[in-house]
Point group: C2
């Protein structure tokens, strides 16, 4: 049904959904593409074009009904349901994510925590107990884990990735600074803070010397 959608469009859709929330207006009211555009860094035409890829659910002369648009965006992004997530790596990054409130409120439920450090195995994190790495396959299968957040050191990441994919995981949010080799059917999102810092230092350096 949907054509090939570029990643930039998805990022914007995610942004529109966020914008709807802090709009401070009732669900029955409407928003215009113009308004949505002002909240992201984009244009009204871009908003309409983005949405038009998925059907036409705006009202001419009025705009988009907020609750309708929200529901539609949730469907498109696939967040109109709960995703079961396993956290692999119970270090600093792992614990930061575990406590991250936006996480659960957006429909991502952490159902398992795994770490290889014997000191951590058995520890209670809220309702969960940290499990050893041997348990991964069983946990994925028994709990129906669909997403894995991979927050382990680089040298351990590929092995874990291979194993969880084989166990049936459908997507990976990867914090390890390596390019994971997984089948093309399993999407991987890389979180790369060094890259983002370098984008900053580049922008600053260019700005100074360029102008």
């Amino acid at each position: 049904m949907t054509r090939r959608i570029p990643a930039s469009t998805i990022r914007r859709l995610s942004h529109y959904l966020r914008s709807l929330e802090d709009l401070g207006r009732e669900g029955g009211e409407t928003v215009s593409s113009e308004e949505l555009a002002n909240r992201g860094q984009t244009t009204a035409a871009q908003v309409r074009k983005d949405l038009s890829h998925f059907g036409s659910f705006g009202k001419r002369g009025l705009g988009y009904r907020i609750d309708e648009l929200r529901e539609r965006l949730r469907q498109i992004l696939g967040v109109d349901r709960v995703w079961k997530v396993a956290l692999v790596g119970a270090g600093r990054i792992g614990s930061a994510l575990f406590e991250y409130p936006a996480f659960e409120s957006r429909g991502y439920e952490c159902v398992a925590i795994v770490d290889s450090d014997p000191q951590k195995i058995g520890a209670r994190w809220g309702e969960l107990t940290v499990q050893g790495p041997d348990e991964i396959e069983r946990l994925v299968a028994e709990l129906g884990v669909e997403l894995v957040i991979l927050a382990v050191p680089a040298q351990a990441a590929q092995d874990i990735a291979t194993r969880v994919v084989r166990a049936g995981v459908k997507g990976i949010l990867n914090f390890a600074p390596i390019r994971l080799k997984v089948p093309p059917t399993v999407p991987v999102e890389d979180v790369n803070l060094v890259m983002q810092l370098e984008a900053l230092s580049f922008a600053i350096t260019q700005h100074g010397s360029g102008a």
Copy 2:
């Protein structure tokens, strides 16, 4: 000197620099654009085009000298020096970043930590002491802070951003889920994990229904 460089190019340059490191070869040897391409998700032509924006420092018939290319990439990205960073927000994310080893090894030096929680103020983190938010302007000025990592709750983020920019900060790595309003001369990089999770759930959802 340099033209308008798209963000995608910068991301790739950052990647090339990383690839040079885990190439496991001496600095005096050479790499071809082909090899570099195989390590990123790109093509040989793309590598050459990316590099050509900044001059021609490859040798025809041979490739690029590794140490020369590394030095050049560092210059381009602005990481051929140490950047002084202040960490604002000493919560989970903050502590994760503080401990992140890649951080310091890439030339980003954390020179100050700030938090508004009275329980945290005064705590020792390595060589540093957590400071109160009133100190921000003074710290930025006295320590010559150039980058700020903003890891505070959304409602506090804009205020901090405005203040550190006024105090002379040149760039911000923003973990708060809002779009910061800052002058166009101050680049902001947003770290948005929810967006990345949504990109995953979109990809998985589409994959299942589309094919």
